[in-house]
């Protein structure tokens, strides 16, 4: 194994010492693959004349859509950032067994597709619409994206600095801000970025809540006027917002200090603080899981067509859902790995930029990714069109960013001292990577894979376009029954979808806490 392919500890100290060209090549290729839908957007936008462009940008509702998207994206991600850090800190101060249970509960909102959350609420409170419900509900279902990485990072931290700060007379808050926050900032911001990208690309929830964002506009352009160029222009605006967010996050993230390998020790939380974080903890669980579920179940009880459940069909859809989610998790993790490894190893502007590009495709509305892969696969690999390969590729493009952040954080989190010790004991760079870095990073890498799994299970618009004819997932089955107003027949699919998605979601909580236990 050539020394240039595997990250070596020395290189991460002095980036100029080694030039990992092969890693550069792999990472660049991976980013290019993730950005492939942009080619399609470029082709469609190029068809737009400048007059049409002016009409789309200035005479249609594009500006209003963009303003709505920005307001929603910023408010949801900021709220998720603060609430998520609060919840993670609150959970972190509990004893280990309780903490694990709490983390698992905190992960549950991830299992609820945003369209189901919105639907469940609308059953109970049909008058809900507009910004406020969209904002609250999206925050509720996305806050685990901040809670989980921050909680994991907190487990890996030593508490000694905070204790010292407190001994020196700092208040709990200023002690936290000065000692803990700098160490969790990177994880928290990466989570908030995922929340932002999720929010601006979400269609199901904002459509049900009748809040018109750019992604809503993209869908309206396809459905109202079959205007693919207008849709592409609006989708590019979404991408533009994503670029701004990714660059902003990169600048805010700043320098990251590697964790020390000492044992964690936490000062006790004040009663007021733990009360506040306790309240914060339950809000997303109740609002994002319990209430939507109650709504769904009450609708189920009203349905007259609650037919005998078609078990073989339900099982088949469950099987496909799990199968494609597993494939997507593996594929997304593999494609994120070289990007994360490069960004973690060489901390220079160029690698950070490359990593940032890897996040952009997550902001694309599912329908755009679906149609762009129809366009590309028919031209490049027509034999694979409407096969599982392209479907999994679509999920990879959509969700690799979820694996990217956690994988990079995982590799960053491996203490340099350990890799240096291994090197000094005569281990080759590849050996260090295989025997030290990878085992230490694996739990976090698994978290990325689980996030991709959960997201894939819930995905609908791209699945409808890219799936092989005849392949039905739980999400598509649920969709096909609700469009026919058969809520009774839809209910088993909704229930199984949530249960199946809850399994990886709960693993997310469990893996995080076990990782803490290991230290």
């Amino acid at each position: 194994m050539s020394t240039s392919t595997a990250p070596s500890p020395r290189a991460s100290l002095a980036p100029s010492v080694r030039r990992p060209w092969a890693l550069w090549g792999l990472a660049t290729l991976a980013v290019a693959v993730l950005l492939s839908p942009m080619v399609y957007l470029g082709v469609r936008v190029a068809e737009v004349t400048s007059e049409e462009l002016a009409v789309i940008l200035f005479q249609s509702r594009a500006a209003e859509f963009a303003a709505n998207t920005i307001v929603l994206g910023v408010s949801v991600s900021l709220t998720a950032l603060f609430a998520g850090v609060g919840i993670a800190v609150g959970i972190d101060r509990y004893r280990s067994r309780l903490r694990r249970v709490l983390l698992v509960i905190a992960s549950l909102p991830l299992a609820i597709p945003s369209y189901l959350a919105a639907y469940g609420w609308l059953v109970i409170a049909p008058q809900l619409n507009g910004f406020v419900p969209s904002y609250l509900l999206l925050t509720g279902v996305t806050v685990p994206y901040v809670v989980l990485p921050v909680a994991a990072r907190l487990r890996g931290l030593g508490g000694s600095h905070e204790m010292v700060a407190r001994t020196l007379g700092r208040t709990p808050v200023s002690g936290f801000v000065e000692t803990v926050w700098p160490q969790i900032r990177s994880s928290a911001l990466a989570g908030a970025l995922l929340v932002f990208l999720y929010t601006i690309s979400d269609f199901g929830l904002v459509a049900m809540m009748r809040f018109h964002t750019l992604t809503w506009g993209v869908n309206a352009a396809y459905s109202a006027s079959f205007n693919r160029s207008q849709a592409a222009v609006l989708a590019l605006l979404v991408v533009l917002l994503a670029v701004i967010a990714v660059v902003g996050e990169r600048n805010l993230r700043g320098h990251y200090s590697r964790p020390s390998a000492n044992a964690p020790h936490r000062p006790a939380l004040g009663r007021l603080v733990s009360g506040a974080t306790g309240g914060l903890f339950w809000l997303p669980v109740v609002g994002g899981v319990v209430i939507p579920f109650v709504g769904l179940i009450s609708r189920l009880a009203q349905a007259e067509t609650l037919r005998a459940i078609d078990w073989p069909r339900l099982m088949e859809a469950t099987g496909w859902t799990i199968a494609v989610a597993l494939l997507a998790a593996v594929s997304a993790t593999l494609i994120a790995l070289p990007i994360a490894a490069l960004a973690s190893r060489l901390r220079i502007r160029a690698t950070r930029t490359l990593e940032s590009f890897g996040y952009l495709s997550h902001a694309l509305p599912g329908i755009v990714v679906g149609l762009s892969l129809v366009f590309l696969s028919l031209r490049v690999v027509p034999a694979l069109y409407q096969t599982l390969a392209i479907l999994v590729f679509g999920y990879t493009v959509l969700f690799a960013s979820k694996a990217l952040g956690t994988t990079r954080a995982a590799l960053d989190g491996v203490p340099v001292t350990l890799t240096m010790v291994a090197r000094s004991l005569g281990e080759t760079p590849w050996g260090v990577w295989r025997r030290v870095t990878l085992p230490l990073a694996l739990p976090s890498i698994a978290i990325g894979a689980l996030l991709v799994m959960v997201s894939t299970m819930k995905e609908l618009p791209a699945t409808l376009i890219l799936r092989p004819t005849g392949v039905n997932t739980l999400a598509t089955e649920l969709w096909s029954r609700t469009v026919a107003l058969e809520f009774g027949a839809a209910a088993p699919y909704a229930a199984i979808l949530v249960v199946v998605a809850a399994i990886p979601a709960m693993f997310l909580g469990a893996v995080r806490s076990e990782r803490g236990e290991m230290r």
Binding site: Q59, S60, R61, L122, P126, Q127, A207, M208, R210, A220, Y222, S223, A224, S225, F226, R228, Q302, A303, E304, T305, I367, L371, V374, F375, L378, P382, Y385, Q386, P461, L464, I465, T469, G470, T476, S480, R481, V483, A484, L485, E486, F487, G488, A489
Partner: protein, 363 residues
Amino acid sequence: MFRPAVGRTTTLIALAAFTLAGCQTPTPVAPSEPPTEAVEEGSVEAVEAEAESDNYLLVYSGRSESLVQPLIDQFVEETGIDVEVRYGNTPEMAALLLEEGEATQAGVFLAQDAGALGAISRAGLFTTLPDDIADAVPAGFTSTDGSWVGVTGRARVVVYDAETINEEDLPVTAEDIVSPKWAGQVGVAPTNASFQSFITAYRVLKGEGAAESWVGALVSNDPEIFENNTSILEAVESGVVPLGLINHYYWYQLAAERGEENMRSQLWFTEVGDPASIVNVTGAGVLTPALLDQDAYDFVSYLLSDTGQNYFVSTTYEYPLVPGIAAPEGLPSLESLVNPDLDLSDLETLSDSQQLLTRFGLL
């Protein structure tokens, strides 16, 4: 019929000869083009140009599985043709077909609204249907050029909250719907194709100026904007909005789900000839790559057969479009609803309606 009366066989022969003559892509030949001289009566080319069955058909359906699959199963059973169906929303299926273009494997596109069919037709992706199929449905309910055929009809109706509104207070015309009396109380879905067809009908029946003032009045009345017919119906059913503009059949479907006696909302037809009660159509067409696939034509014919039409009447509560088949019980007759010979698939006029809605900020 104003449609160029060129039979399918003639077109096929012309096309086959065209292809065999060395032309690379089998682009659909304009129906007006004279049959190519290269074809002699009874020649090999002419025989090969006949549509043949391979006992396999891929259908793209913009109509939902639970509503059409039982009929398709029946078709499979009767004909032995293996039919695979890809389900999706009509606009997404149309977008998919537009991206696939001539590379599509689909033989038939079954769509929920005429606009989507018009988009495919304008992209040159539909073959011209043979006369026996195209002429089965009267003008106004089908395409003007034989590129697709209407299958079922849906009436535009007013749905109202029967717990809070008395029948005698209900609007009699489209103009009543936008009277100040209903300010803030009307649910509409402007992005939905069926609402846009209603606007088109209004423009055709009452003129551009009147349509503009109607939309202006609607907007100044602060309507509740919804995503689609279903969400309007749900909102009226749960008492959030007193009045909504939808297609009739959604109500029947929900009534089948919840039980008619449990329905809080009720349907109301505006007066005869009013644009608020026009008929929208669903339809089907054969895609150009399936030009020579007899299975595709058989399938579309089956949708128009007595079996097919009666299936829709009894299962989806839609209007049959083939003359001589009875409409669902309890509905006004199709003839009593306005049919201004609109070409609802005409995207130019659709685009004019959309621009009107865009000017008033509804799109």
